[in-house]
Subunit: 83 residues, 2 copies
């Protein structure tokens, strides 16, 4: 694990950032009563990618983060708040 | 370009997200009077990677974003605010 992460591990809960992000996306999706299929269609993203992302299996890129923020009509900072 | 980006292109300035992120990192680094070499050593990241990142040549991953936020002692949302 990166030194910085080790030195700051007290600062962050034990879950890795991809897991925390996946939970955030699921929370936002379900708040909007969107299914994964609906979100995939609306955002132009593959459904199985959304499923893996929500399970923390993807380290998403900044480009994908922007696409998700646009689709959810949030700023990137709003999308990542609390993570 | 992703449909969502096209439909929302009015919402975002013409610069792509990697360029905007690179400028943000450079701004934060110089505010702290850090050179790229100093930042590389302190964050455990390769200097040439920082240089490419600041020039918008990298679509960074969420993991790298977290490392940068930890190193800059910001939350991920603070690091990405305004992008």
């Amino acid at each position: 694990m990166n030194d910085l992460r080790k030195r700051n591990s007290h600062a962050k809960p034990h879950q890795d950032v991809s897991t925390r992000f996946g939970q955030r996306i699921k929370e936002l999706r379900t708040q909007r009563n969107l299914t994964q299929v609906g979100m995939a269609r609306e955002f132009g993203i593959n459904r199985s990618y959304i499923s893996q992302l929500e399970r923390g299996r993807k380290s998403v890129s900044l480009n994908t983060i922007e696409i998700l923020a646009l689709g959810l009509k949030l700023s990137i900072a709003e999308l990542l708040s609390g993570i």
